[in-house]
Every structure is written in structure tokens, then in C-alpha cells.
Symmetry: C2
Subunit: 329 residues, 2 copies
């Protein structure tokens, strides 16, 4: 069944959906046969989310000592890695990093903490205070990624001015046991629902190259669609020494782009941002991510790995004739 | 007149031509509207010349002291630049560089000499001897670029085993007087004809970003089509201190890609290789050149500027799932 991507693109643009079997078939495309898939993804993106690029940055506000055993993670206490270990940074530092992110042109700034959840009381309060100051003193939109949360914490974050809560599913339901055995997938799914119920937008995606199959990547995309998340961060594994996946084979650039395009077709109206592992996995093909359907990218450093200088990303966007979305678009 | 690029691509694939006015209209496309143009160029390229990439390298065998006043050229005696000045390198060196180029994966190796023409007698003989040795001792195909030549020189090169003669028109007939006033455009056109008549294939293209208009770029493409050259090297100006164009504004990456695509549509069956100025002008978009219709690229250093390491180009080709054409394909 040779897919007519023009027609499929039009169907999705007119509000129709892509079927799982169609996505699985598109997953078999290779080499230049992928170009029409990218073309369709690009048209769908522009139709639903426009052609501006959304930039975001993060701060690793609390690092290491995580009791979870996620196979890829340098911050897991189950791994011996060089990832820094420190407790929650102070409010001043959170606000200073927000200013730095704004200076770099990011519209969204994520405060990320390692660990299954943050401790109620002092830790949550310090973050909420920082969010309030960031709201008052900068033009950047603060978001938080504090692990598994309940309604009380979610409401506190809303009250402090958090707009978006980030919590990844990391992979598909069927592959998750291969990634993490210290908590259940449904706890992550539930965190997404709790955050939405409290009135937060949800930024939820995952990481590819963990050993999952293409079908499992597609499975994850459909789960995100069911949960109706608001933005989807896509990471590509940057194997870190000391983790279970230190010797994992890198996902190829064209496979990264194919994954982005499939997510765009399955999640046509969502913000899809390319985050961790972009430079490492895409190399010379980084400039293809927007053609493949992404509408945003993280700039600056990642959680435990460094990103390239923001100026290089800005030059790439200029070279692509792409402009940057300002904050709340 | 909104061009249907699908239909235009099919017309060209079926042997039809693109009209000048159609090319001029495509020259107005900007941003993501260029993606379908690249898609059409890519399909046309694959139809006529396949999806393998042709790699070539050159040696600057005689440098500087050129009496011509080409505005872009660091080797012109009319300019004060840092370009090295040396007479014709010896046969041993020419052969050694051929081996280096072969090691880098190039299928074609160009022996280039500055100056209006090379001197008959000793200079020509030394080059012909080197060509004979390169033929015997390596698997790479030697080509020559020795300026304006007559039938006698062309025949000597054929006899020595040269397959392709390189001689650029540099720009369009109408813009040429702005580039060079020390010789006439028709001398270059005639050199192409002389070489073809002697049984040589001809590699003939030019350089963009000299101040020419888009229409003049298109004009040059149609002149090359009339001359029925065999391969078309496209260079993008890398402004060199001391030349008339030292402060020229760089042509943008998308303009470079648009030019490549237009040349593919106008010269559908030809080998189109991206040469000088690729890294400088295309930056993160170097990986788009083949999608835009190019079927080859120069690797290693250029005449008077350095190229990036061959390994980086090989990684880019691998990442694009593109394989390299072996020598005489």
C-alpha cells in the first residue's frame, strides 16, 4: 500500500486522523523516500501551529540521588555517573537562570528537580517563590518538572503562576518495564491527569533510542494523544557512561527526523520541541527538525549534558528563514 | 501564477523543459515555500543521475600572479591577498595529491593552474606526465583546469588520459563585465567548445554572490544548457580580504539552496556539484544540498580557502543515507 502523503496530509489538515497502520507503514520509509513525509509534516505543522519556532530552556535545580532506576538516567542512584549531585538550588539562582534563558531568547523556562517527587513544604515553597519572582521580574514563562505530583502540589504551582507542568512518559506503556521498574507507568500517566485537572498545561514526551521498537514509539504518540497533552518534548538518547545504556547504539539522524514527522502526523496540533540529544544524534541534520515537523527546540544546556551555544542555534534559525515565537503564543 | 511543482517535476522527468519565466517565478519563493521546489529537484536528480553522491577534490597546482582581474579571485595580480604564489608544482606532488584525494573518497581529481592559460611545452608536458602516472598508479579520474586552451592543448590532454576539462563561465554573459574586464566572455565559451570538440567532457559552472541578480543566475544556467556541458560546479562566494569583493554580503543559505534547485530543474540530467564556499555560506544547511538537487560535492580544500575535514562530510553523507558514486559512474 504505497501511501499518498499529499492526500494523508490534506486529511489531517482537514481534521482527520492518521491510522496506526498508516503510521507503521510510514515508519518503513528510508532515505529520500522520507522527503515527502517531511513535506507533509511541515505543511501540517504550519497549518496548526504556524511557522514560528518556540524556544525553551531548563535549569537542573536539584540533581542526582534519584531513587528511580530509569535505564538512561545519569541522575539515578542506581548508576555511577559523573552527573553532579546537589540539593535544591536557592531561589536567587533559579531566578538568575531564568534571566539567562530569557536573554538566550527562550520563551519558556523549566525548573527541573531529580527524584520521584519533591518534598512538600520548604522545597515546594522555594520553587513557588522563585516562580512568583520570575513572573514579576522577567518576561519568560516558568514551568516546572518536579516528578510525580498530587492535586495539592499541582494547585500550589498554579497559584504561584506556573502555566505548564512537565512530566515525561519517557516511552510506551509496553516498553516501560524495560526502562524503569521502580515505579509504575500509570503513576506517570496519572501525574499528567492530575496536572491537567488542576488547570495546568502539560508538557509530556519522552526519549528515543532506549531500545524501543518503532511501533512502540508510535504507541507512545497515541498515548500522548489520548491524554491530550499540550506540548511534546522529544529527546534522543545521548548514552552516558555509568548508565545501563552507556553502550546503546545511537538512533540515526534520519530515524530521529522520521520519529519527529510521525509524531507531527499523530499529534498535528501540538507543540513538538526537540530537546536532549539533538546535537549528538542529528549532527549536520539538526537543521532538518523543523522541516520534519518540529515547532520548537530547547536551547542551551540539557539536564546533565551540554548543548551548543545559543548563538549557533539562532544562526541556524536565521539561515532557515524561521522566526522565534514570543512568549505566550 | 502559483506553480504546481508536482506537475513541473513530472514534465521535466518526462523530458520536457522548464521555461525561463517559470524559473524566474520559482526564484521568488521564500522560506518553507521552497520545500516543494527542493522536493521536485530531488526527484528530478534521482530520476536522471541517481541518488549516489559524486565526490571530487582539487589541487592548486600553480598559484597567484594571474593577469586576469576577476573580482572574486585571490590569485589575481590585480589584488593584494594572502593567497600563496608559486609556479607549477612538480609531477611527484601532483601524483601525491591525487592519492590523497583518492584516500578521501573522491572519484575525480582536478589539477588547477592559475593564469589565463598554461605555457605550452614544459608546463603542459609536466601536467600530461602527471596525468599518465595518475591513470596508471591510482583509481581516481584526473581532470584539468588550465585556463583558456586551444585544440592542440586539448588534444594533448586527451592523449595523456584526461577525461574532463574544467573551465568556468563564472557568471552570466550579461553580468560578466562586472566581474572581469581583462578577457572576453566568448573566450571562455569558446574554451568549452574547443574542449568538447577535442572529445573532452566539460565541467563548467560558476560562482554566486558576486552581485549578480537571480535572473542572471538563471541566464547562466541556460547558457550552460546551450553549451551542453557535462557537469556543473556551483561555488558560493567566500569573500577574501584584498579582493574587490572582500566586503560582499554573503548569499544566504536558502538562496544557495534555491540556486541549486533552479540549476537542477534547468539542467536535469547533469552532474551538479557544490564546491567553493559551501561551509562558509551554507553552515548548518550544508546537509540540504542534495535534497535541493545537487548530485556531488567537493571535499577537502578549495583553491585558496580551506574546506572542513573529509570525515565530517563522510559522516554527513552517512547520516543522510547517501552512498558515494565510485569513479566512472
Amino acid at each position: 500500500m504505497k501511501m499518498n502523503l499529499e492526500k494523508l496530509g490534506e486529511r489531517i489538515i482537514e481534521g482527520g486522523d492518521i491510522l496506526v497502520e498508516e503510521a507503521l507503514e510510514l515508519a518503513n520509509l528510508r532515505g529520500s523516500a522520507l522527503y515527502p513525509l517531511f513535506g507533509a509534516a511541515s505543511r501540517i505543522k504550519e497549518h496548526f501551529v504556524g511557522d514560528k519556532v518556540f524556544l525553551c530552556s531548563i535549569v537542573n535545580a536539584k540533581s542526582g540521588r534519584c531513587p528511580e532506576n530509569c535505564s538512561f538516567c545519569a541522575q539515578s542512584a542506581h548508576h555511577k555517573t559523573d552527573a553532579p549531585v546537589y540539593s535544591l538550588i536557592d531561589e536567587e539562582r533559579m531566578v538568575a537562570c531564568a534571566r539567562e534563558a530569557e536573554k538566550n531568547g527562550s520563551s519558556c523556562y523549566g525548573i527541573i528537580t531529580s527524584g520521584t517527587s519533591i518534598k512538600k513544604g520548604e522545597e515546594l515553597e522555594r520553587i513557588c517563590n522563585a516562580v512568583r519572582r520570575i513572573r514579576r521580574e522577567t518576561g519568560i514563562t516558568p514551568s516546572c518538572s518536579l516528578g510525580i505530583i498530587n492535586h495539592e502540589t499541582a494547585s500550589a504551582l498554579v497559584e504561584a503562576g506556573v502555566e505548564t507542568y512537565h512530566h515525561n512518559l519517557e516511552t510506551s506503556r509496553s516498553f516501560f518495564p524495560n526502562v524503569c521498574t521502580t515505579h509504575d507507568y500509570e503513576e506517570d500517566v496519572n501525574t499528567v491527569r492530575v496536572a491537567k485537572k488542576a488547570g495546568l498545561k502539560v508538557c509530556c514526551g519522552g526519549i528515543f533510542g532506549l531500545g524501543e521498537s518503532v511501533a512502540q514509539r508510535i504507541e507512545m504518540a497515541y498515548t500522548l494523544r489520548e491524554l491530550d497533552v499540550d506540548s511534546v518534548p522529544l529527546n534522543f538518547l545521548n548514552p552516558i557512561a555509568g548508565t545501563k545504556l552507556e553502550n546503546a547504539e545511537n538512533i540515526t539522524p534520519m530515524e530521529c527526523l522520521q520519529t519527529i514527522a510521525l509524531f507531527r502526523l499523530i499529534l498535528p496540533t501540538k507543540r513538538i520541541s526537540i530537546c536532549g540529544g539533538r546535537e549528538k544524534n542529528l549532527r549536520d541534520l539538526q537543521s532538518w527538525i523543523f522541516f520534519a515537523g518540529a515547532s520548537g527546540t530547547m536551547i542551551g544546556n540539557y539536564l546533565t549534558t551540554t548543548g551548543r551555544a545559543a548563538e549557533e542555534d539562532w544562526q541556524m534559525l536565521k539561515d532557515l528563514n524561521l522566526s522565534v515565537a514570543s512568549c505566550c503564543e
